[in-house]
Symmetry: C2
Subunit: 325 residues, 2 copies
């Protein structure tokens, strides 16, 4: 099996590669080669049990996607995108990368004869916009309140059509807010969700721009990688024309996050969170959906995190402890 990871230098891309190295391809299939692509050169770790090729560049530029699919990868993970804050700040660039880039990829695939790879696209709960019901079911309207959400929803529609027409075999997974993201904050408006856990655990101050009552729909990076692998193996026939799936998550308030941190790491750590209300962040994130039924995904075998305490534990085990070791 040949695998292409687009957006391979990002956090999820690197964790996905580590998972493939440890567990083999989707369904345990042996991996012949992995092609990693990102706007910056992906740096794969040493000692991988399969050949890895790195490639960098702007995948929305004509010709790049054609080159990426020339080797006919069997499975494509499309994780690349400009994040929400940047897509809002840079209107044209958001559409160029997030929409036109994905379309260029789909078109490049369509141009390869007798080829319809499994394509897993990471969408987002930003495809939903206020007002949302308390629990969003699988038939609820996508009415995004951000350019990023609009772009994700548009690519979901394209993916569904290209799948229906047989040009590719797509699955779009709408990831919850990922927490705890290791490393440095990115430009996502949801950055604080990880930051208020990660920085204190690393002995640093974190800024909380929203109320503690704000409720979020969260999954660990480990759960996100398991969703990607599951999406690469499921039978897509039962999906019909509806190729987008709301992923399972944990519904938790910011206050519950902080309480879990306090229980795990103590008062002193939890006190490193400084309240600095930011009405812009509060308004945008406050409109995000807080809870999903995720009925279809659960029925298809997608399994999420048990609770927020285990999400925190995942970070400590997978990222914090190795970094200190």
């Amino acid at each position: 099996m040949k695998i292409l990871i687009l957006g391979a230098a990002g956090m999820i891309g690197r964790k996905l590669l580590a998972h493939l190295a440890a567990n083999g391809g989707p369904g345990g299939a042996p991996i012949k080669a992995v092609l990693l692509h990102d706007v910056v050169d992906p740096v794969p770790p040493a000692g991988l049990p399969f050949p890895v090729e790195g490639s960098s560049g702007d995948y929305a530029v004509p010709g790049v996607a054609e080159r990426l699919v020339a080797g006919r990868p069997d499975v494509i993970f499309h994780l690349a995108s400009i994040v929400s804050g940047e897509a809002e700040a840079r209107f044209e660039e958001g559409y160029r990368v997030n929409l036109d880039g994905a379309r260029a990829l789909f078109e490049a695939i369509r141009a390869v004869p007798n080829y319809a790879p499994r394509l897993i696209y990471t969408s987002s709960l930003a495809v939903f916009g206020a007002p949302c019901p308390d629990v969003i079911d699988d038939d609820y309207l996508c009415a995004p309140a951000s350019s990023y959400g609009i772009q994700k929803a548009m690519v979901e529609l394209l993916l569904a059509d290209y799948s229906r027409r047989g040009f590719l075999d797509g699955v779009a997974i709408r990831l919850p807010t990922i927490c705890v993201r290791p490393g440095r904050p990115n430009a996502a408006l949801s950055g604080f969700v990880s930051s208020i856990m990660r920085e204190p655990l690393n002995g640093q101050e974190a800024v909380l721009p929203v109320e503690e009552a704000m409720r979020l729909w969260i999954a660990s990076p480990r759960a996100a990688v398991s969703y990607l692998m599951q999406a690469a193996t499921i039978d897509t026939a039962p999906l019909g024309a509806r190729r987008s799936l709301n992923m399972p998550g944990v519904s938790v308030t910011v206050g519950e996050q902080i309480e879990a941190l306090r229980r795990r790491a103590g008062d002193e750590v939890a006190r490193l969170i400084r309240r600095a209300p930011d009405p812009v962040v509060a308004r945008v994130v406050g409109d995000w959906p807080q809870r999903f039924s995720a009925t279809r995904a659960i029925g298809l075998g997608f399994v999420g995190d048990a609770d927020f305490a285990s999400i925190l534990e995942t970070y400590i085990t997978e990222d914090l402890a190795p970094a200190r070791a």
Copy 2:
């Protein structure tokens, strides 16, 4: 007020122009000029009470949309599209015209300084795909089962984002199946819905490709024009980021259509309908939604046809009688 009609040579475009000539602009505003554009030269009727300029060409070609909005029309009716059957048969052309064309128009508008015209976009119930509930409410998922529906749903999303960002002031109206369309059949898969009324009333045979039990969501061309005018005048502030509206319609089975024809025009006329089941048409049209709550639109003052008998009467009064006079 200056008005631009894109897709002006089509049936709705011509009826809209006649309405403007008889009633003035949206809200009764005096009309300074109307610009008509279509892929073929629109031929306006003589004696219009305002200056009319005609323009033809492919509006998806770079430069055309810029020219169309250079005069800063206050209201733009975007009715242009490749119909469902053609968008399914010609994949690339469907995306080029229906998606890229609309995007080129929105981009041309965005490029004009201090300009955010009211833009009315005719969408379609093809944005919904099976399985649908018996009655579709305003929060129901858009999961199109055709390339045409995908393109319409994508443009709706773009329209919402361009509106939210203040680049234009858009309203997308999802028109029911229009019946009775005057003139010749077009390539829409729903063509029979009008054909089985129109051809018999004109003494000609019509072909019915579906079962009489098939239920449809229908509006007259007169109702469609009234929706366009209403969409041009409503206060868009209450719409928020949700700029797409399901339009009111009449839910009717094909059998009820035929019975209404029989009652109005007699057995001999109704006998001109020849049954010739076409599984392809039956499958596609059978998946279309059959009934909507249209709660938001009704609350905003959109008023549809009373019943199917009055829809039939509208055709006889507006189209059949004048053609025979």
